[in-house]
Amino acid sequence: MKAVFVRRTSALLLRQFYLLRGSPARIVPLFAWVAIDIVLWGFITRYLNAVSAARFNFVPAMLGAVLLWDFMARVMQGITTAFLEDVWSRNFLNLFASPMSVTEYLSGLVLSSIATSLVGLVVMVALATLVFGLSFFVYGAMLAAFLLVLFLFGISLGIFGSALVLRFGPAAEWFIWPIPAFISPLACVFYPLATLPHWMQWLARLIPASYVFEGMRGVLAHRAIAATPLAIGSILAALYLLLMARAFTGVYRHAVRTGLIARYSAETVS
């Protein structure tokens, strides 16, 4: 059973590899936009360091935040683009008439996302370190926890976006791309949570990424590392992942009940 699971999920990963290998148009976006972001924010942080009081270093606070945020967005887009490949190539009927389960399908999307988001992460880390002198040692061991929470949350958002498209049709693709921008004010990427109005702080506490960026600023300010907030962020991220996987399964079942899966090809054409 385990071998079957590995074979089916690796089939989706292999499909993604084939698509990337033969298409520069797919490879370049894996790192181009995040690289531009790092360059842009690299220079902004240098400028801020130059004009502000010398005691605060903006590079790890802002450039590091941009890097972590872009990593989460790349993870999300890794899921959604792998899913959209099936929408664009009208492949649902072939895929879902095969013995593959929804869990195997989602796992295949996650594997694809790990592979593609790693490319972006490596490029971002290389640029931020080599060009702008960002040292990841300043975050210490907490960096692994930050990346894990953002990875889980990015996967949740990707599955949520895919469920939207499966439910509302190919045109709903345009709902997916602004998702990170939509939640970024509540994720407190660049400012402390306390900056937000009281009612927004409550909403921000529902966003796992806000715990990461609060924790990151805490580490940089040499405050004692509070494990509880980050644990809450991790639990929230894991909970959202389970909820979104359930939501996708529910949408899939609805699509099978109503005939949407079978009709999806025709609607994509139209």
Binding site: R7, R8, S10, L14, R15, L93, P99, I261
Partner: protein
């Protein structure tokens, strides 16, 4: 043909009281039939009769409102994975992704279907469907006839026990269509497989199918040997009978009433 009739008792597909309702609209209304081993069963009917809805339910991509589908002893509702491992299909409306090559598509679907000795099997279907020269060609740039052959190659990859073919020769030239028909007849005769075939080409149906079902408004109107049915219903050809079923279904005595 005699051997086929005897083996047909060993049912590969059994459909019982299958029904699909969309709100007030009944697309398939209590259809029951079986496909035996080595049998090619033709599912005929005008557009909107319920053929594709029936096929989609057998493929597990459309949930029936009620009824039961058993594929090679596996209840599709309870043992979906096992049932679909024994099934495959080709349909004009489900081409393989055009952005992958023929070889890449066959490899990906071979893994999804759990095909053993995949390299060997891919070589086999590429040879069988005259696709060797297209192994590294993207499916999207192939002609519709070549794409149909790729879809058939994918449908044969896992050597299914149940093969569903929805108008498999619709976009093929007559010579290729004849070859494909011969290949599938040969496949059905030699392997332990049952084939459900839809087509609007009545000459093809008479040539290929051992038995046909005429669907009209979601119900089975007629069933029988495509070579004898026209005479039994006072028509000259299967096509004449098809036209009557499509235009005046009430003038046909239903199979269940006989």
């Amino acid at each position: 043909m005699q051997e086929m009739t005897e083996n047909a008792n060993a049912s590969i597909l059994s459909v019982t009281e299958l029904r699909k309702r969309y709100g007030e609209t009944v697309a398939v209304d209590g259809v029951s039939f079986a496909v035996g081993m080595h049998e090619i069963l033709g599912l005929l009917g005008p557009n909107g009769a319920g053929k594709t809805t029936t096929i989609n339910m057998i493929l597990g991509v459309l949930e029936p409102t009620s009824g039961k589908i058993i594929i090679d002893g596996c209840d599709l509702a309870r043992r979906r994975r096992q049932a679909l491992e024994r099934t495959n299909f080709a349909a004009v409306y489900a081409p393989l992704p055009g952005n992958l090559t023929v070889g890449q598509n066959l490899r990906v679907f071979g893994l999804l279907y759990g095909v053993k000795r995949l390299n060997e099997r891919i070589d086999g279907v590429l040879n069988e469907y005259d696709l060797v020269r297209f192994r590294d060609t993207k499916c999207g740039v192939l002609s519709s006839g070549e794409q149909t052959r790729v879809a058939l190659a994918k449908a044969m990859l896992n050597q299914p026990r149940l093969l569903l073919l929805d108008e498999p020769t619709a976009s093929l030239d007559p010579a290729t269509a004849r070859e494909i028909r011969a290949t599938i007849r040969d496949f059905a005769a030699k392997c332990d497989v049952g084939v459900l075939w839809t087509s609007h080409n009545m000459i093809e149906v008479a040539e290929v199918c051992h038995r046909v079902l005429f669907l009209s408004r979601g119900r089975i109107l007629l069933e029988g040997d495509p070579r004898r049915l026209p005479a039994e219903h006072e028509h000259e050809t299967l096509e004449d009978l098809f036209v009557t079923v499509a235009r005046e279904p009430l003038t046909i005595r239903r199979t269940e009433e006989e």
